[in-house]
């Protein structure tokens, strides 16, 4: 019997507005506990929330970028539950009228074909605080710095049918929020969080099976692994004729399994009702238009343009457009050195290697686009060899010094002047009589060794092509 998985994802995306959603506290991370708080986000008696308009703007950006229809009238609702990290005893969220509904994003499947995943809804809400448990005593500390940080919850349709697709969906979503500059989109740091609903059914069936909800996955890899595990677990149960229990399960990364969550989580009644402290927010058509017009080029559009404009292979385009900063770097570079393929190769191979070593982002890199263009021009003009260029790139990477400066100060210009090359070649020929004999005896390959010797003596600055010619002339 063949089974297929039906997966829906609920993603929480932390917005990087300067201040919180309902008060003016800072949203910065890493401050000492309970320093970014005020009576409002502490839920003190008598205080009132006032909506940060920036949150609305960010929400509209993502809603438009995911092809959603926007609700002109937005209502905030209270979601009630008791927990020490929730100071008011309710979270201000949206229920009946979320900001956006019925959208989609496009992902690319393993086989290269494209697939649309529906977005059920996007809504705005506030984040809760954090509990820090004392590992020695039965004691918990509450840090409310994060309380009131704005979140968007993005709920997908159950249209994802494989763990890889889920990973792809998350990547596309992360790319979007980063392009729009509304979130860091970092799963490891919690600015992107993902829960998954998953069920399986016999291939071809139209009815949905019983689903489980998976939580506690802190990276794309975790999401994929948890879904893979859950598919195996549910399939085994089905084959064994057992029932799947509808429940929430937590991913245990250490053990590589999902485990049912303890406690009576399922019995929650959140008692949603419209928050009487916040008036309905009307979103005008003009505002939507303004934001639409102000939207930057989105990843999918950028890829189309790159294909048409630079004629690069699709794989290159994907890597280059992985972030806005990288794509911009590439384009800046091409403006100054018009050979897209060469620029792309150097970025993807050499530059990426350096960045990867230090786990840096292109934005944190000391190499500027004009540096790389300069370097490629030096190679192109025969002034330096590719090998030297790589050394220079490393130096620029480490210091931020422009390649031309490095070349000049360190005397790295390629030696193409024949007098010098002739004399070095003669020297090498004299010092290696055996190899010269071998060459003359027909072992043409040995020329490589001789060229290498010349390069060594010139510290790599000799033009290898010319050295080759001169050697043949001398000993041939």
């Amino acid at each position: 019997m063949e089974f297929e998985a039906v997966i829906g994802l609920e993603v929480h995306c932390q917005l990087k507005t300067k201040s919180k959603i309902f008060c003016s506290c800072s949203t910065d991370f890493g401050a000492p506990p309970n320093t970014h708080v005020c009576p409002i986000c502490l839920g003190m008696p008598g205080v009132l929330p006032v909506l940060n308009k920036k949150v609305l703007e960010y929400a509209l950006k993502l809603s438009l970028a995911t092809n959603c229809s926007i609700n002109n009238r937005n209502i905030f609702a209270r979601k009630h539950y008791f927990y020490p990290d929730l100071p008011k005893g309710y979270q201000i969220s949206q229920f009946d009228l979320p900001i956006a509904e019925h959208g989609w994003i496009e992902i690319e499947k393993q086989d290269g074909t494209k697939k649309r995943i529906g977005i059920t809804r996007i809504h705005m809400e506030e984040d809760a605080g954090k509990l820090i448990h004392d590992d020695k005593r039965p004691l918990s500390y509450v840090d409310l710095n994060r309380t009131g940080t704005p979140l968007l919850e993005i709920v997908s349709e159950p249209e994802i049918s494989a763990p890889e697709e889920a990973g792809e969906y998350l990547k596309v979503l992360r790319e979007l929020v980063r392009y729009l500059e509304i979130s860091d989109g970092n799963m490891e740091e919690g600015s992107l969080r993902c829960d998954a609903n998953i069920s399986i059914r016999k291939r071809g069936d139209t009815e949905l099976g019983t689903k489980t909800e998976l939580k506690n996955m802190n990276s794309f890899r975790h999401v994929q692994k948890a879904l893979e595990y859950e598919i195996r677990r549910q399939t085994a149960l089905m084959l064994d004729g057992q029932k799947i229990v509808q429940e929430t399960r937590l991913w245990d990364e250490a053990k590589g399994i999902t485990l049912p969550m303890r406690g009576k989580e399922e019995a929650h009644d959140y008692r949603y009702f419209p928050d009487p402290d916040l008036i309905p927010v009307e979103i005008s058509a003009e505002w939507i238009d303004d934001i639409k017009n102000g939207l930057i080029e989105l990843p999918a559009q950028k890829r189309e343009r790159f294909k048409a404009q630079y004629g690069l292979p699709y794989e290159d385009i994907r890597s280059l457009t992985a972030s806005r900063a990288l794509a911009d770097f590439f384009e800046e570079c091409v403006k100054k050195f018009n050979n897209p393929k060469k620029v792309a190769n150097w970025i993807m191979v050499e530059l990426m290697k350096l960045l990867k070593q230090d786990a840096l982002d292109i934005a944190q890199c000391k190499i500027q686009p004009q540096h790389l263009a300069e370097l490629l021009l030096l190679i192109d003009e025969g002034k330096i060899s590719g090998k030297i260029a790589k050394d220079i790139l490393e130096k620029t990477y480490a210091t931020g010094r422009p390649p031309t400066d490095i070349v000049n100060e360190e005397g790295l210009l390629q030696v193409s002047d024949d007098d010098t090359l002739y004399s070095v070649c003669k020297e090498v020929a004299t010092e290696n009589p055996k190899e010269v004999d071998k060459f003359r005896a027909g072992k043409k390959k040995v020329i490589g060794f001789l060229v290498g010797q010349v390069m060594k003596k010139t510290k790599g600055k000799a033009n290898p092509k010319r050295v080759n010619e001169i050697l043949i002339e001398l000993i041939g």
Binding site: G46, V47, R271, Y272
Partner: protein
């Protein structure tokens, strides 16, 4: 002049004395504090008296007056219902759960009055979290009616009303969710106004039912009420529900005629259940106003009978949500001796809240529960809309509505404490106004056969606070001298 004689003066009269330098705020404040010492042990209007803060405030006010920077409330000693947050001054909501809570901020109304140099004497008793009609639900002690110490002062702003009536403050602020300013004002023979919803910022008012709560003045005269409304009203960026429209000068409406204007009298309010003395008082007021040139018109508010039921779903629903935050984690009371988190929540809230508050939390929690929401909360919200429409239609035919405030004069302490439903019905004429978000003012009208005050209310159209003041002030002049509170 003895203390009582001085304190019998209105805020406007005191203003004149202060500005002429015939009295200082320091002297006036001391008179209030002496009066509190003397009288409040009988009345029990105050939960907290801030002697030092008040005296310090009075000195600052005297300085302002000396420099010619005096404003309407500079140097006037006032009291605040203990539901209004006061920076550095304990704010309890008459609840054990907030017994020792000291807010690090002022409510907007407090901030505005402080900026004028008003002297804050202390915090006044109330029904716990403003839930009640008699101030018997205070976790600390009941307040007595200064007109008859065996009677309730009304509620939930009973302390605010009793303090003005017993001359232990020159004016006070209360809050009105279903009649909590107007009913105690009526029972204590003072003026009390619930402004239109959104007229006064709710920031810093500890929420009972957010969509119904309004802060309002409780004063000796309508002019004082207008004066105080001038000081506290107006939009506030910290309250999204505050109304953006600019406020007129309310004092400007206190000397106007009402000749030729139409007063609507709702049929449904004058029917059965109305105490005879109250009925006579209202009818007396109607004929006086008619004689003075007003046009009296019988109107109908056909859905009045559903108001109390709708209110007792909406208000507890919002309350159950607003009171979630009192969980023992961050501030206020926390029960000791608990086993785990859940046990801490249960013990804290069971011990921290009083009977009536717990009753309403349960009512509200039930009304909002999934599966019941549509039948209760949603239906009640629809009824609320219909009640608002009733008023809207009525105001096509009249400029103002005249109605009784409470169906009976003040009842005796303990008389209704065992019967919550009976207690709920005492707000029957005030509740519809909150549901519709309208302004209304209670003004003393007559004394009952047993010598207890009876008020009438003028209900204005949407944002028509100035009309309430105009009619109430006109009526006050027409009525002439009102009996003197025996304790004064």
């Amino acid at each position: 002049m003895d203390d009582a004689g001085l304190l019998r003066l209105s805020c406007l009269e005191l203003r004149a004395l202060l500005d002429k330098g015939e009295i200082t705020s320091f002297e006036l404040t001391n008179a209030c504090l002496r009066r509190i010492e003397e009288v409040d042990k009988k009345v029990n209007a105050y939960i907290t008296v801030d002697r030092d803060g008040a005296l310090m405030g009075s000195k600052k006010a005297d300085e302002m007056i000396r420099k010619g920077e005096s404003r309407p409330f500079t140097g006037i000693p006032i009291g605040l219902k203990d539901v209004l947050c006061t920076k550095g001054l304990r704010t309890t909501c008459a609840s054990k759960i907030l017994k020792d809570f000291i807010p690090p901020y002022d409510a907007t109304v407090v901030e505005r009055l402080r900026a004028e140099g008003a002297v804050i004497l202390g915090k006044l008793n109330m029904d716990e979290f403003a839930m009640g009609s008699s101030t018997e639900n205070s976790a600390f002690f009941p307040t007595k009616n200064p007109w008859n110490l065996d009677c309730i002062p009304g509620g939930s702003s009973g302390g605010s009303a009793a303090s003005v009536a017993s001359l232990t403050s020159c004016a006070s602020l209360g809050s009105d969710t279903g009649g909590s300013i107007r009913q105690p004002a009526s029972h204590c023979g003072i003026v009390g106004m619930k402004p239109a919803y959104g007229r006064v910022s709710r920031f810093g008012l500890v929420a009972f039912a957010s969509s119904l709560d309004q802060i309002g003045p409780m004063t000796k005269t309508v002019k004082d009420c207008a004066l105080m409304l001038n000081s506290i009203a107006g939009s506030d960026i910290r309250d999204s529900t505050s109304h953006p429209s600019p406020c007129p000068d309310f004092l400007d409406y206190t000397d106007r005629d009402i000749k030729g204007m139409t007063i609507g009298v709702p049929l449904e309010y004058m029917s059965e259940g109305l105490h005879n003395d109250v009925k006579e008082a209202v009818e007396g007021a109607i004929s006086k106003l008619e004689d003075a040139g007003a046009v009296i018109k019988e109107i109908t508010l056909p859905h009045t009978e559903y108001a109390v039921s709708a209110y007792y779903i909406i208000a507890p629903s919002e309350a159950s949500s607003n009171l979630m935050r009192y969980d023992g984690v961050k501030y206020g009371f926390r029960a000791g001796d608990y086993d785990d988190l859940m046990d801490m929540y249960i013990k804290t809230r069971s011990m921290g809240f009083g009977q009536e508050v717990k009753r309403r939390i349960m009512l509200g929690t039930f009304s909002l529960a999934s599966g019941y929401y549509d039948a209760y909360y949603k239906k009640a919200s629809q009824v609320r809309g219909i009640i608002a429409e009733d008023f809207q239609k009525a105001f096509n035919e009249c400029d103002i509505i005249l109605a009784p405030v409470a169906p009976t004069p003040a009842f005796r302490l303990g008389e209704k404490t065992d019967d919550p439903l009976e207690m709920y019905l005492s707000d029957i004429f005030t509740i519809p106004v909150n549901l519709a978000g309208l302004p209304a003012i209670s003004v003393p009208c007559a004394l009952s056969s047993s010598g207890l005050p009876i008020g009438i209310q003028f209900i204005g159209p949407q944002m028509g606070d100035h009309l309430c003041i105009q009619f109430a002030s006109f009526y006050e002049r027409l009525r002439g001298n009102f009996g003197e509170c025996p304790i004064s």
